[in-house]
């Protein structure tokens, strides 16, 4: 235990930063980028990353859950509590999608970011309609443009995608397919 004076001036340790991170995510109640967090918490990227890992571990077995998508963090309810939360909220979540939609989501989830042409190459059919409806449901989004003729849109999954699957991050997806033949 350090003295009061010392601890006040000391750079916050991971536990302290974790608590601050938790408080900020709780009050903002939306996906927050690590860049924003650096500013809010007056901290460095590696420290915030470490605090996020600690927070995620600390929440294990609790009602809350730390979700991470790319550079965004969000505090949400634990997937194990979905039933009780639903009883309180009646949220309108997309309940069931078409097989085509799940296929398209799977391809995007594992290969993101990628273009519509690439998705269609895998599925062998036109995917315009499916992509439109997935985007409308907020499960995928444009993440940028490919630096190629026509600068086609690049698609990626969203935080909401993690939310309907109850995943803490994309790393929790089943192991990716070993691509035998594919190039990018």
């Amino acid at each position: 235990m350090t003295s009061m004076v010392e601890s006040a001036t000391q750079v916050r340790d991971t536990a302290g930063l974790m608590a601050a991170l938790e408080a900020v995510l709780f009050t903002l109640n939306r996906p927050v980028t690590v860049l924003e967090l650096q500013e809010i918490l007056q901290s460095t990227l590696p420290d915030i990353e470490a605090a996020a890992v600690t927070l995620s571990q600390a929440l294990s077995g609790r009602g809350l859950f730390l979700q991470r998508h790319q550079d965004q963090l969000q505090l949400v309810t634990d997937p194990a509590q979905a039933d009780v939360v639903r009883r309180v909220l009646r949220p309108e979540y997309p309940s069931r999608l078409s097989p085509a939609a799940y296929e398209t989501l799977a391809i995007i989830a594992y290969r993101q970011p990628l273009t519509r042409a690439r998705i269609e190459e895998v599925r062998g059919v036109n995917c315009e309609g499916v992509l439109e409806s997935l985007e409308e449901k907020g499960l995928i989004e444009e993440t940028g443009r490919l630096d190629a003729p026509g600068t086609p849109r690049l698609f990626g999954t969203t935080m909401k995608f993690l939310q309907i699957l109850g995943l803490s991050s994309l790393d929790e997806l089943p192991p990716p397919p070993q691509s035998a033949s594919t190039t990018s």
Binding site: D78, P79, A82, P91, L97, S98, V125
Partner: protein, 254 residues
């Protein structure tokens, strides 16, 4: 599933709106899907597709399902390739160049089929995971969320109470063609006024002015809208008891 437009007009419209769905319901998931399905049906691995039976199945499928022209055209490309492959296999003395082309094409198509199969399996695991309902939720009430406090009635109870209202109305008489003007906006205003005079009323009382099914339906929609925007809530004190409708102050989120 024949997908005949005359028989399923609604479905046909739905299908036209979403071409991929069309592919599914017509049992044609596009060329790759067709190959996979047919290959699986013949119980062979993709390394040794029996082309003769495959093309037979393919032709039969076209005969029976009659896919739309653009799908048909897409299949034709694959079909022609399959026949080309078969022909090459039957004539081992075919020109080397072509042989190599075919070999390369066969490799490529096999690779794509394998890749597609892997994603199909992954898609199924995503679907199962989604169906398990283990969602995560953010804390804030999103705009598309109606707080439980406003709907203290099971949706079934609400629906059956409304059905009773409808049942009480006279059955549709002889058809008189007459454009009925019942607007949701009018009904919303009417309901607001009713609740203004009487902050709490029985569910059936809400419909006391409704003379036709259309009017009752629009009134019901207006009630649902008031619940959604937070100006009313419905409650049922006991199981099978009368449902009551309450006025709710708009800023009262509870």
């Amino acid at each position: 599933m024949t997908g005949g437009k005359s028989r399923h007009p609604d479905l046909a419209t739905e299908l036209e709106r979403d071409p991929v769905y069309l592919v599914r319901t017509a049992a044609f998931d596009g060329p790759i899907e067709l190959l996979v399905t047919l290959a699986q049906r013949a119980e062979v691995d993709l390394g040794a597709i029996p082309l003769a039976s495959l093309t037979d199945d393919y032709l039969r499928a076209i005969e029976q399902e009659r896919p739309p022209l653009d799908r048909l055209a897409a299949f034709l490309v694959i079909g022609a390739r399959l026949v080309q492959l078969k022909a090459a296999a039957l004539m081992p003395e075919a020109q080397m160049g072509e042989e190599e082309d075919l070999q390369a094409w066969e490799e490529a198509i096999k690779g794509r089929l394998e890749e597609y199969k892997r994603f199909k399996a992954l898609a199924e695991s995503l679907m199962r995971r989604h169906a398990s309902g283990r969602f995560t939720f953010a804390g804030l009430l999103e705009p598309d969320v109606i707080p439980q406090a406003r709907v203290q009635v099971s949706l079934d109870a609400l629906a059956s109470a409304f059905q009773q209202v409808l049942d009480r109305l006279p059955p549709p008489g002889p058809v008189t063609v007459e454009m009925e003007q019942v607007s949701l906006a009018d009904k919303l205003e009417e309901l607001r006024q009713m609740l203004g005079h009487q902050p709490q009323m029985n569910f059936t009382a809400v419909f006391r002015h409704a003379r036709t099914r259309l009017e009752a339906v629009v009134t019901f929609l207006a009630l649902l809208e008031l619940i959604r925007i937070g100006e009313a809530r419905v409650a049922q004190v006991s199981a099978f008891g009368e449902i009551s409708v309450h006025r709710q102050e708009k800023n009262d989120q509870a």
